[in-house]
Symmetry: C2
């Protein structure tokens, strides 16, 4: 009954060991947990985070929204068209620079913020199943992880 010696290879490819899979899996779990709440607003999660960006500051270009969410026009263009069709936003070419499209909230889009405050926000703490401090600490750690990953992609 000596010390257990194990080839590191044996564990490296195990699914449960992987931080990456844990994050991948948690992201999907979040989506599933949010879905019934967001259904009541008629929004998907990606649409919802675009709305959050606009609730923070109304009237932003596709580029600005994309920078905050790490999404490109290939994702945002069709998504914004769907938000427009839902009556949540308007899209207008910038007068001074016609390359840019400015995205603005409609009255309905602004009003939806209150629905989010009432229906979504209170449910989150309950979903996550831990205190606010734990949640905040974890969030900061995950953000640090994301930052490290972004750096690794660009500087190698």
């Amino acid at each position: 009954m000596g010390i257990k010696v194990m080839k590191p290879e044996e564990n490296v490819l195990k699914l449960e060991q992987q931080l990456c899979f844990a994050v991948y899996s948690a992201a999907h779990a979040f989506n599933r947990a949010y879905k019934p709440l967001l259904d009541s607003l008629g929004l998907t999660y990606p649409q919802y985070i675009v709305m959050m960006v606009l609730w923070e500051r109304n009237g932003q270009t596709v580029k600005e929204i994309g920078a905050k969410l790490d999404l490109d026009s290939g994702t945002l263009s069709p998504l914004l068209k769907r938000l427009e069709k839902l009556g949540m936003i308007t899209r207008t070419r910038d007068e001074n620079d016609e390359r840019q499209v400015v995205v603005s909230l409609t009255e309905q889009g602004k009003a939806t913020r209150r629905l989010a405050l009432d229906k979504i926000a209170p449910a989150i703490g309950h979903l996550v199943g831990c205190g606010v401090d734990d949640m905040n600490e974890m969030r900061d750690r995950v953000i640090k992880l994301k930052t490290a990953l972004d750096g690794a992609v660009n500087h190698d």
Copy 2:
């Protein structure tokens, strides 16, 4: 200069505050970081985790794979067909229960495990930008989060 009193509402919908967005964002960052590594194996990330499941135990049904990855047949059926076309796996109906499809690694699929060990595994630690202990602790926390979210979905 009294104590700063703030409506809780003001912060609740801020993007940077959200654990959910942090996780969503980190998952995409992981994907982007993995992509160049996985390209050398000719696999996408979801295909890669299916391969990991099969490397742990060869010959599993679609159902079993789906249970481990939280994916349904709507996702797995076409993904597995692509893995089959790549020559990584075979799909055969179970003789005893013809409803089930057993997924097995080909020789190429088995050989790809070594490529993963050589090319993917060593790069991960570097990507994440922190020590093994930190990484493991974080993984366990994220798994706990996922478990809490899963529970919240089913028991309300």
